[in-house]
Point group: C2
Chain length 137, copies 2
DNA sequence: ATTAACCCTATCGGTTTAATAGGAATTACA
DNA sequence: TGTAATTCCTATTAAACCGATAGGGTTAAT
């Protein structure tokens, strides 16, 4: 299941990408427009800022803005920040690999084989989708 | 994340498919061989029995057996029983659809569009994989 | 009768998720 | 210079879910 955090984060990024003029976009505006609890959204935008996707301007008339062109923001990167590993099991994760306690040999594990296929097909989607694709009509 | 329940369930099904002669396979044997907590595994096999994948024989020398040929057990079906929806959000789920509270129009939701792609690519894997594929060398 | 196995219900501790609370720091602008 | 608007920071919470365990009931082979 996609977490609310990820869902809200993606919607917020899309909103900013669509709206963006020169002025930064305020949390309150995004929250109201996308029906996202404001305080929760604040924490999500913070993590997107800390990971480099967003910049912020403090104080009155402050807000958030994209630090890259939407076409350069890949879903693989966004998903890994918001949702964590893309793979369904750590033993097939490229960025968050962990060995299973049980499996003596990954190559003989039926789950391993299946989950590699799922990972690859999902990666194929995320690698070929950018924020520009999401925000475009 | 794939739940332990699903992981254990898949491993158990694979084990049964590989071992199967005429005699049913015992929970204790699967649990020991695959390093799965036995009581937990019992509950998993129960749900696989109730959903028609497995049959059981009670009493001494009892156990579980497949009710269909492995080549006829599709991952789509197994995953839906063990893990639930294949889609990452209910609003793109084929079998567990739910409308989002927020979204006024699904067709304009960027998350919706992205998650349809992910769903389809994952479905494509599960629809083309059977237990025979998992248990085959 | 005894034993081995599945079957059923309940419970529990831990973790994660989603959200809220309260204020501190910063900036625009009158 | 003061006030309002806004991001920033830390802490807390309620609920849900997950993984596992407990304890026995039922069934069947020998």
């Amino acid at each position: 299941m996609l977490s609310k955090k990820t869902k809200y984060g993606l919607k917020a990024l899309t909103y900013i990408a669509r709206v963006e003029g020169d002025a930064p976009v305020q949390v309150s505006e995004i929250a109201a427009s996308e029906k996202i609890p404001q305080k929760f959204l604040e924490s999500i935008l913070t993590s997107l800022r800390k990971s480099g996707f967003l910049g912020s301007k403090k104080g009155k008339h402050g807000g958030y803005y994209l630090r890259k062109d939407p076409s350069e923001i890949l879903m693989t990167e966004v998903m890994r920040i918001l949702e964590g590993p893309i793979a369904m099991v750590p033993c097939v994760s490229l960025n968050f690999y962990e060995k299973c306690d049980d499996c003596p040999d990954e190559n003989e594990c039926s789950v391993h084989k299946l989950m590699i296929q799922v990972r690859d097909s999902t990666l194929n989607v995320f690698r070929n989708t950018t924020l520009a694709d999401l925000s475009g009509s």
